[in-house]
């Protein structure tokens, strides 16, 4: 069968960097094609070529078997190729029906918008897709999941033949994912070709018919979903095996950081726990349990209303992150974009912004020493970028995170608080970040790990403090801790 959309021998480079090379990829009617790969594997670039944003440097693009050129996203749209980005592109103040028909409103004889006809057609369309949304509500008032549905409905109204969904489930909870997948199944039955991108591999097995794996801009595997398993996928994505992680709790030293009855009104209450040198304490809990709030109070970003913080046996007062850093407490933020990156500054400056003092003599920066230090750090943390002069916004999520870890380490912390350290980074970088955390703890650093990923908490922590509604629900030893015991303490009312 002729694919609806295909690329053959596709190559694409940006200022000398090859991003895609010799790639074959095809989408058939009535098929869900998964596209998986680490961040930076070339998925986004491929999507942009399919969507007419980028032109191929080499190779050709075929629509219904015929070579075609897509000069712009508009071109792609006209040929029935619709890409739905992670960041939705709806007009929040317009209603669902207005969004769906934006650009091709049904009109009356006088050239004005025919609201009745628009309402009728919107209802019909949403019904045919079994989407339960009131078409007259402004989309800004709809949930993200519903907005996604509106965007898909819009695509269908544009006579889409190929629908590319770029990580549609990243922003959805489990129930909404099921609704989305039901819709995808209906579209597939209607004969659309669908490209589905996700970091969650189990989803790929749930709804896809075929999978294509990319690594470093090349295809490293393609197979019908029934013939493969998760390990097959992971091996092709990262090109190496996972280390096993069953182990004993570490033997830890003296207490490094102790919280005693720490409270902050409206956020958390009477939180007490200790972290020892050479130990990782996991801070688990549901979203909103107060984990990040506790961390922010420790590093002086918010003032506790009661309780004390002890560091190496002495009470300390921490008013701002600068003081925390001088005392040897470093915090790796959960919100890399808003609170971590200096986006338009080079990697070098991002790495040293919190530790400029160590490169300063008599008020003057020693740029040579700084450079040497950063070069060394980039090597140790395996940051992959064009160089330390590259603006950090051009790096992949994983590499950005490594630079921020480097920044936290540059103050030579005795206590390191890492908040969602692997959020938004790919599988390979995740493993490297784990290895890094393990190295640090082996050197005697006391680490507090905040993470919503159960697997991560269980793998790394020696003890786990579970917070529930701002209070310590329980502390679990490594032996006691399991997904079940944590969830039970975190989620069940006392």
């Amino acid at each position: 069968m002729t694919p609806l959309l295909a690329v053959r021998g596709l190559g694409k480079s940006f200022s000398g960097n090859t991003v895609l090379s010799d790639l074959d990829f095809a989408v058939h009617a009535g098929e869900v094609q998964a596209l998986v790969g680490e961040n930076g594997a070339g998925k986004s670039t491929l999507i942009k070529v399919l969507g007419g944003v980028y032109q191929p440097d080499r190779g050709e693009l075929l629509i219904d078997g015929e070579p075609a050129r897509l000069r712009s996203p508009r071109d792609a749209l006209a040929r029935g190729i619709v890409v739905i980005q992670q960041e939705l592109s709806l007009a929040p103040h317009l209603s669902a029906e207005e969004n769906i028909f934006l650009g091709h409103f049904p009109t009356t004889r006088f050239g004005t918008v025919d609201h009745g006809e628009m309402r009728r057609r919107a209802k019909e369309l949403l019904e045919s897709l079994s989407i339960e949304i009131d078409p007259s509500v402004p989309v800004g008032r709809l949930s993200i999941a519903q907005q996604q549905m509106v965007e898909i409905a819009k695509a269908i109204s544009l006579q889409a033949k190929v629908l590319v969904l770029d990580e549609p489930t990243a922003v959805l909870d489990e129930k909404r994912v099921a609704t989305l997948f039901a819709l995808v199944a209906r579209l597939k039955a209607q004969g659309l070709g669908i490209v589905f991108i996700s970091h969650h591999l189990e989803e790929v097995f749930r709804i896809c018919d075929r999978v294509t794996v990319l690594r470093d801009g090349r295809k490293t595997g393609e197979a019908p979903i029934g013939e493969i398993d998760q390990e097959w996928l992971v091996a092709r994505m990262i090109g190496r095996d996972f280390p096993a992680h069953a182990r004993q709790a570490r033997r830890s030293g003296k207490p490094a950081l102790e919280l005693r009855g720490l409270s902050r009104r409206g956020e958390f209450e009477d939180v007490s726990f200790a972290v020892h040198e050479g130990e990782i304490v996991g801070l688990a809990g549901l979203v909103g349990a107060g984990r990040t709030e506790v961390a922010r109070a420790i590093v002086g970003l918010a003032r506790p209303s009661a309780g004390t913080i002890r560091l190496h046996g002495q009470d300390v007062r921490i008013d701002d992150p600068g003081t925390a850093a001088r005392l040897g407490i470093s915090y790796l933020t959960e919100d890399r974009k808003a609170q971590g990156l200096l986006p338009n500054r080079p990697v070098r400056e991002n790495a040293t912004i919190s530790s400029l003092g160590r490169f300063t003599r008599l008020g003057v920066l020693n740029l040579v020493r700084e450079r040497t230090y950063v070069r060394d750090m980039i090597g140790k943390l395996d940051v992959r970028s064009a160089g330390m002069g590259t603006e950090i916004r051009y790096l992949s999520g994983g590499n950005q995170q490594k630079v921020l870890i480097g920044r936290a380490l540059a103050v030579e912390p005795k206590v390191l608080i890492v908040d969602e350290p692997t959020r938004g980074v790919d599988i390979g970088a995740k493993q490297e970040i784990y290895a890094l955390i393990e190295q640090l703890v082996a050197r005697g650093v006391a680490i507090v790990l905040i993470s919503s990923e159960m697997e991560e908490v269980l793998r790394l922590s020696d003890r786990i403090v579970v917070l529930r509604r701002g209070r310590v629900a329980t502390t679990l030893s490594r032996e006691e801790a399991s997904e079940e015991t944590i969830m039970r303490s975190a989620a069940l009312a006392a």
Binding site: S15, A324, A325, G340, N344, I353, R407, V411
Partner: protein, 308 residues
Amino acid sequence: MLRRVGAGRLGGLIALVVLIVIASLLSDRFLTVPNLLNVLRQIAIVGILAMGMTFVILTAGIDLSIGSILGLSVVLYAGLLESWGLPVAITLGMLAGAGAGLVNGIGVAYAGIPAFIMTLGMLSFARGLAFIYTGGTPIPILDETFYNFGNGYFLGIPIPALVLIATLLVSAFVLGMTPFGRSVYGIGSNEEAARMSGVPVRLYKTVVYVISGGLAALAGVVYSSQLGIGTPIAGQGYELDAIAAVVVGGTSLFGGKGSVWGTFIGTLIIGVLANTLNLNGVDPFVQQLVKGALIVVAVFGMSRANRT
């Protein structure tokens, strides 16, 4: 990648060279030593103001009050000179400039007033002070030494130009070679991230307005010594010329990106343009038009260069 890093400044430099080539083709007098020194003398005041403005804009702020602060310092120099002598007059005038900057800084960094509003208020306030102090009439300056400072030469170079170059070098050093300068870029790039990294954000934000106010008073020294008069309307609208020089020089109004070298080039571009229009006898009203167009075109060109 390299192109990306250097695009802003390189683009400005190329524009300057092109402009110089055109200017020398249009008039024989352009590429002569006296004329070039004259250009340097003429750009000194706005150049010094633009250096201070660069600090502020790098933190994603803006300082609309520098023209008025210049005016305030100018009347203080003129008024205090007679009875207190030159050193005291200069010191007090400079302190007034830095003090006005300090008020701006505290308002912006500690009280959280938007920089645009805070410095707009200071624009009116400082100008008001200058008028009250003089009663609206200019004060003549009759000090030989002072006059020579503004109109004399050192090693064949006009002294105002030397002041500008010294300001440039010190500013470049502070921005490039000190933790403070590095933090200024950090604050402009992502203030919250800078705060989380232990940068004393509020203190440093205050300091950039003090620098801006202080440099406005320094520009006031050049202004009053060049003209030999302390007039309360001195420097009106100069803040906009300074902003123009900064953005033509490739510094982003969103903060975190740019340099005083770029600002220097931006000042030169505007100065050379004005000079060449003058040499060719272009109507001053038309000059305004050309300058306006140049600013927009230059910034548009640079944003294009940055994108590819």
